[in-house]
Amino acid sequence: MSFKRVVITGMGVVSPFGNGVSVLMQGIEQGRSAVQRMEDWDRYIGLQSLVGAPAEVKDEKRIPRQKRRSMGRMSIFAAQAAEEALVDAGITLAQEDRWRIGCIIGSTMGSAKSINDAFEIILPNKDLGQLNSTMFFQCMSHTAAVNVAQYLGLNGSIMAPAAACASALHAIGIGYDLIRLGRQDVLLCGGAEELHPTVTGSFDILFATSAKYNATPQDTPRPFDKDRDGLVCGEGSGILVLEEYEHARKRNAVIHAEVLGFNTTANGFHVSQSNKESMVACMKQAMNDAGVNPGDIDYINAHATATIQGDQEEAEAIRDIFGTSVPVSSLKGYIGHTLGASGAIELAASLTMMKQNVIYPTKNLKTVSPDCEGIQHVLQPISKKISTVLKNGFAFGGINAALVCKKF
């Protein structure tokens, strides 16, 4: 059986820098940080990390009320990113076979703010009568996928992988499989997530957040740096239009990249600790699926969130396969860790870098930590012809994901 080829023809992003891929790239190019001290977070007892990278909800009234009412923050981000991606792809839904266009959009869970609000309403008096009709639709795990599908009027496959910080890469991987198997023509794939003190809190209680830079938020997170002290949560959404190659060719679409391979593995031994061996297997199998060798990879966009253990394991895994031969950078220092959205937002940035033949450095990486040495860290922007990129994404639950894309 021969697989169909899968290409990426559209990209859309809502990030802590604002709405749009170009706005994201401008922030990265200028070396800015979107991390800030979060107002009022100090009222949460026990929360050590008081920094975050918030995105702004804006122009949401452009979404009709009856479509918007079931959307929490993350779904608004997803809808706007999806809209940008569709415009970028130049796809007019009315001209397509509607049963063959869908969306695969993942997230850790439903809207954190809406979930919090729902319990604030219910718990004081155990009163369900005050809940509005759409609260459930904002809270459910497939909220972003469903809301994007409803907003755009999609009729094809709708799925919502929940794999925490690997959710977006899982979504792209699933979309890649559905299209290469011939089951769908076009899928809007990616992830969405929102920033909330309870989300940061889930990492904070495990001492995985950055807590030493509350007074100097722009100095954190610090992926691979000797002074890194944990991750900083961000929010937003990244959506990529995956399309069957012949379908894209027939409509003369501009092709950003071809998806060559994907793989996901699990460490099978610990729910929160990263594990080099399973990361190595994941990257190797993704390259095997893509039919490329380590020597073919021109750039690795690391997951690197700036946790002590996670960065070390990823650096060791990359070192074992690539040594110092391939430039590696993480984008978390610019926009924080956008969790379930990170794989897609960072892939959109990586594919743009590939187009521009430039690699942006790991922000806040000043002194490489001894436990992260042995790989080619990018400390300054590099001009380099990039043909093939490897994107990593790792998640709580011991989940790893890796995707290989090639310039078309």
Binding site: R65, Q66, R69, G129, Q130, L131, N132, T134
Partner: protein, 96 residues
């Protein structure tokens, strides 16, 4: 013009509070809020909106109407004004 003396609530106050719900909860322009407006066909509400309408009216008027069968008969804004008046009046009558 009707008045619920004990609650000091006039017909005008019921209209204003109800219309405010439609403006704030359902983002409907003021000039569309005429008594004869059909809440489904003219104002565009649907079945989910009715759940929210009930919650909003409960909060605005301090009444309990979630399990009230008569909600099903509401078609126009005037129906709502009259329904709220009736409910409030029944509450007052019950107290006395």
């Amino acid at each position: 013009m009707f008045t619920l003396s004990e609650e000091c609530m006039t017909e005008q106050e019921i209209i204003e509070k109800t219309n405010k719900v439609f403006e704030e909860s359902f983002e409907i322009e003021k000039d569309k809020l005429v008594p004869t407006a059909h809440i489904f066909t003219d104002l565009g509400l649907d079945s989910l909106d009715i759940v929210d309408l009930v919650v909003a009216l409960q909060n605005s008027f301090g009444v309990k109407i979630r399990n009230e069968e008569r909600v099903r008969d509401i078609r126009t804004l005037q129906d709502i004004y009259q329904f709220i008046f009736t409910i409030k009046k029944e509450e007052i009558d019950k107290k006395s």
